[in-house]
Amino acid sequence: MQLNNFIEKNKKRSGKGPKKFLAAQAHLPYVGPISIWIILFVIAPLGVVLYFSFLTRSPVGKIINIFTLENYQNFFQGKYGIIFLKTLLYSFETNILCLFLGYPIAYWIVKYGGRWKTTLIFFVILPSWTCYLIRLYALKTIVGRAGLINSLLLNLNLISSPLEILYNPYAVVFGLVYTWLPFMILPVYASLEGLDPSISEASVDLGATPFQRFFTVTLPLTKGGIIAGSILVFIPTLGEWLVPMLLGGAKVMMAGNLVYHYFVIIGNVPAGCSVATVLTSLVLLIIYLSIKFGGEGALERIV
């Protein structure tokens, strides 16, 4: 019925015969399935989350149709507010660290990589193709309580009981950098690789010191790579929950852990939805800004 209405409406609007109308709808067999899929399984779930985030939870865990802003108020106040701020802080720190580590490495690969460039980049990409749960587990085999560092120190009699390296904010930020660093190196590498070497040669000819050359020529020209890398690192870090869970324990939580806590552990769906909504809005805002300032295809280039 609805389809008929739709066709009628379109016929009237275009004022053309049914044959022309059919030709105008030739894209539907191709993009129809995905449109339905996205509406059903992407847009609708997000819409539901947005809607539920304003509802009330009954004591038995049911969702009651009473409008409230309490879920948001709770999230921005008190200990949850601190978790939110810390999420932003850890993501920011991770981003900065990834930049300060990733840029020099990308630079080194481009400058000294020679014929090993592809191989070197291969070894940067490779970890991001491994289940990152496994990478975190592997990290624990080194820095964990029963890990390699502790067993080494114990065997050398430098310590008498194992050190607790994990379960503090430093461990979490370290884990985040460890996980997301490849996503900074890659776009920066791509933008450095795309640089025209004659520009930097020209600056040398004009008397620039290596220092000046880097900060006034190379760095500004690779701004695009830095921004892309920052987005690729910052966005997933914001929604991170496994790194804080496995390396931070109960002491260091991020917003993603709150989502898990509300949805799975205590079953407070509206509260979980409000955290999810805040995270999604933040991410979409960042994407919107990057499109606005980075131009149309910025997003697709990044992805």
């Binding site: 539920f52 020099p104 496994i134 085999t141 029963a146 991170e240 993603g256 989502v259 999810a276």
Partner: protein, 263 residues
């Protein structure tokens, strides 16, 4: 030039250090998967015993089979839908095309935990589908389609479309043209997208954990349940080794097909 030499050395040291930190955990894991020590983190003798133990572990075998099954179904659905979508986006002009292109990317832009949580709420509280294979596959397909669309779209910008027109001019109908011309032309990209999606789905933990419900333990979920309480053991080391070596194979395959695509 002296300061330049020193900064080169600093840069090199930093690079080596970061590579080491990035790879040390993986190497330690692989090495200790061959150690006969049963606590998994100290070296005794070389053994391949844990790999045989892995093979005989029913839990692991079942988890592996589930993961492969889910990844295969996801690859098929996502690649077919993604290829159709890419074709539609490339060939036609229609209203809302820009919006569609942006919205397709949503599942890989929004945080995983949000995708996972929103689907969990949607399945259990709104459309009431019991959590299981269907929900996991729906979730996996959702975050895999964007990859497929953009891999295939990338290829479309580089192929020779006159072949398709020629086939139509010579009297082939739409379906025959698709079968004989379009698909073979796109095949390298279709395979590349499949190779990309498989590990993406196979490795996923967050979304699977939320949408699988009880009972559908995939390999990452199995690993998680083992390490959550600090178990470090040789069997996990062997699983980890497989997880680390799998993408090596995947990337080499990708490389192979991309080289073929160049021809």
């Amino acid at each position: 030039m002296k300061s330049s030499g020193r900064s080169t050395i600093t840069l090199t040291v930093l690079t080596v250090l970061v590579y080491m930190i990035m790879w040390a955990p993986a190497i330690v894991l692989i090495v200790f998967s061959f150690s006969s020590n049963k606590y998994g983190i100290s070296w005794e003798n070389f053994t391949t015993r844990w790999y045989f133990e892995l093979l005989s572990n029913v839990g692991v075998r079942k988890a592996l089979a589930r993961s492969v099954f889910i990844a295969l179904v996801t690859v098929v659905i996502a690649t077919v839908t993604g290829t159709l979508t890419a074709y539609g986006l490339y060939k036609f002009k229609f209203r809302g095309k820009g919006t569609l292109r942006t919205v397709i990317l949503l599942p890989i832009i929004i945080p995983y935990i949000v995708t996972a949580g929103s689907l969990l709420v949607y399945f259990t509280r709104v459309i009431h589908i019991p959590l299981g294979y269907i929900t996991v596959i729906i979730a996996h397909v959702s975050f895999s389609i964007p990859l497929s669309v953009f891999v295939v779209l990338g290829r479309m910008q580089r192929i020779n479309w006159t072949l398709e027109e020629a086939s139509m001019d010579l009297g082939a109908n739409k379906l025959t043209t698709w079968r004989k011309i379009t698909i073979p032309l796109l095949l390298p990209a279709i395979i590349a997208s499949a190779v990309l999606i498989f590990p993406w789905s196979f490795n996923d933990f967050t979304v699977t954990y939320f949408t699988a419900g009880v009972g559908i333990t995939t390999l990452p979920i199995y690993v998680f349940s083992q390490i959550r309480f600090g178990t470090i053991g040789p069997v996990i080391n062997t699983i980890g080794t497989i997880f680390i070596l799998l993408p090596v194979i995947g990337l080499l395959l990708m490389n192979f097909f991309q080289k073929k695509e160049m021809l």
